[in-house]
């Protein structure tokens, strides 16, 4: 069904991005600098409200698909936005974590200069991700993807007077651009094979293609390209440099949702666009599962060795991407097994966004208070920051899969889905990895919360309210999803069903 509501979240975010510098100038003239932050939060709230409206509209549609043809030009030539349950699921995650990062930035970033650029880039980053989720063809997809990528390069190297963000930003730029270019190369061949850039028309044309051998090559390019963006090992080497180098709210955004955009790209292209192709998918199931096991092992083992709190969390993100990739590989089976696997994967995408956002914000609060990232310097800081310590404990227990919290639900779901698909070996590897993950989070908790504080931390004070608020919201979400997961599971399973249901997608557009 045609709906103009699709454009509203994107328009809101773009207009907010353009207005931030102007509002910032007005704030300076009125001697009320915080007007900029207030406007940013209002912008994200407005975007979330627009997304909620879209959600209500989507509920009323029977086949679960909304489209918007720009200027009325339909496919295969025109540019089209398509919103299904997967899009709205991902977009609400992106916007929600953006709001949390914006609230956290009020106090965390107040000593930096150039904040009007910072908030503009935060808006363009979220715009890019929401646009990627809403795109219905490669044209849109590519433009919004690059909007997201360029914004995150600049945000990683935002504190450009220090050496670390510059070096990490350059490394991130080279690797991530290379990944985007691989995807673009695959796009050009798909365009040559089918004569269109529209997802649905490519899916239609690809089912009776004469030379299916080239598709193996193209899917390989797509997996590697998005794998670089999603930090799948062995292409993860930019992540443990880039995520710690960024300011803490941006680390939360990058680890929480930007790498998930890569996961979304893999789901969208492999489960929808290329899935009707006449090729042997079981090869890619195995390839993705092996990548997943490599990723989680590398991430967990490297995280064990870290003494820097943000590097530890960054390597933990690599490990969690491994779990998600394993769920995606099960999702490629299609059918009931595939829906089950993809549901667990999407549930973990949501939970990991919440948990890792929470942990990075905690790390930010601790770094802001103590001025160092070295775990050995931070021993016992929880005794000085009680609120942060409680929230950190919730986050660390949740991500290591302890029952009353949300991480347990999704990690168990992935394990069960993997066993259900007959991949018991991979489930065993994942279980071993969860135990390793628990060990370094225990180490983190032991060092930061349990041990008595060192002398160098005498003057540390509790984080201010505006930092504790987003952390507390995310921690409460961790507990709520852990105790009452049913609505979230339903949402994720609807998203997984619509992601795998390419026949409806093709017939509507």
């Amino acid at each position: 069904m045609e709906s103009f509501l699709i454009l509203y979240p994107i328009i809101t975010l773009v207009v907010a991005a353009v207005l931030v510098p102007i509002i910032s100038l007005i704030g300076k003239a009125l001697n009320f600098e915080k007007l900029r932050e207030a406007f940013t939060i209002a912008g994200f709230l407005a975007a979330l409200y627009m997304l909620f409206n879209l959600y209500q509209e989507l509920k009323t549609v029977k086949d679960g698909l909304l489209t918007y043809r720009i200027e009325g030009f339909g496919p295969p030539f025109g540019v089209i936005f398509v919103v299904d349950w997967l899009s709205i699921f991902m977009a609400s995650l992106f916007c929600g974590l953006g709001l949390m990062a914006a609230i956290f930035s009020i106090r965390y970033m107040e000593e930096d200069s150039g904040l009007e650029r910072y908030y503009t880039l935060l808006f363009t980053l979220v715009t890019g991700m929401v646009g990627v989720a809403f795109a219905g063809d490669f044209f849109n997809f590519f433009i919004f993807w690059e909007t997201m990528c360029v914004s995150s390069y600049v945000l990683v190297s935002f504190r450009i007077r220090l050496w670390e963000p510059v070096e990490a930003g350059f490394k991130y730029l080279v690797m991530s651009t290379f990944g985007s270019l691989l995807v673009l190369y695959a796009m050009s061949y798909l365009y040559g094979l089918t004569g269109t850039l529209n997802f649905a028309y490519i899916a239609k044309a690809i089912s009776d293609i004469s030379t299916p051998t080239i598709l193996y090559f193209l899917i390989g390019l797509i997996i590697v390209g998005f794998g670089i963006a999603a930090a799948v090992a062995p292409f993860h080497t930019w992540l443990p440099d880039a995520h710690p180098a960024a300011p803490a709210p941006i680390s939360a955004m990058l680890s929480g949702v930007v790498i998930k955009a890569g996961v979304y790209g893999i789901i969208r292209l492999l489960a929808l666009v290329l899935h009707p192709a006449p090729i042997d998918w079981s090869i890619f199931v195995i390839v993705l599962a092996i990548f997943a096991c490599l990723t989680m092992t590398v991430g967990n083992v490297m995280a064990l060795l870290q003494n820097d709190i943000k590097r530890l969390l960054a390597f933990s993100s690599v490990a969690q991407i491994g779990y998600i990739t394993l769920a995606l590989s099960v999702g490629l089976f299609g059918g009931v097994i595939g829906i089950y696997g993809l549901t667990s994967g999407l549930l973990h995408v949501m939970n990991h966004a919440i948990m890792k956002g929470l942990l990075f914000l905690c790390a930010g609060a601790i770094i802001h208070a103590a001025g160092t990232r070295d775990l050995r310097e931070l021993i016992g800081i929880g005794h000085k920051m009680h609120g942060t310590a409680i929230i950190l404990t919730v986050g660390a227990l949740a991500i290591s899969g302890i029952p009353p919290f949300n991480g347990f639900i999704s990690e168990l779901a992935i394990l069960l889905a993997t066993i259900n698909a007959g991949m018991g070996l991979f489930a065993a590897i994942m279980l071993a990895n969860i135990i390793i993950g628990f060990s370094y989070y225990l180490k983190l908790l032991y060092m930061l919360v349990w041990q008595s504080p060192k002398e160098n931390l005498q003057n540390v004070k509790e984080a201010p309210f505006s930092m504790l608020l987003p952390m507390a919201i995310l921690a409460i979400l961790c507990i709520v999803i852990g105790l009452w997961p049913q609505p979230f599971i339903d949402f994720a399973s609807k998203a997984a069903e619509s992601a795998l249901n390419f026949t409806t997608y093709i017939s509507i557009i």
């Binding site: 590519f142 433009i143 190297s157 050496w163 080279v174 290379f178 270019l181 190369y185 443990p240």
Partner: protein, 106 residues
């Protein structure tokens, strides 16, 4: 007149590998950026060449040219950003040799 599309596609593949060689083997940061630009150009060539081949035959598809123009804009933005970062790298390290710009461990 029949254009030989395959020739352009082979040319694109060769350019693509030259770009990869530039990124992997060259240690100068500016040469890395040049490698990225060469890969971008290879993909553009591929798009434009394939735009002639897709139906309806005999008409050049404007869609391919549209996405190439967008990609050129993005490529310019990324090159600018990369060169800005290289200037900053030079300021911090007094070199653009990427072997020496590696204070961060893996």
């Amino acid at each position: 007149m029949v254009l030989n599309i395959g020739l352009y596609m082979v040319g694109a593949i060769i350019l693509f590998f030259i770009g990869i060689y530039c990124i992997v083997a060259k240690r100068n940061a500016i040469k890395t950026v040049i490698g990225i630009e060469i890969i971008t150009t290879a993909i553009h060539l591929n798009f434009i060449a394939l735009g002639i081949m897709v139906p309806p035959y005999g008409v050049v598809d404007p869609l391919a040219q549209g996405i190439v123009i967008m990609s050129m804009i993005v490529g310019a933005a990324i090159a600018t950003l990369a060169l800005m970062l290289i200037i900053r790298i030079y300021g911090h390290y007094k070199t653009v040799d990427l072997r020496k710009v590696s204070r961060l461990r893996w």
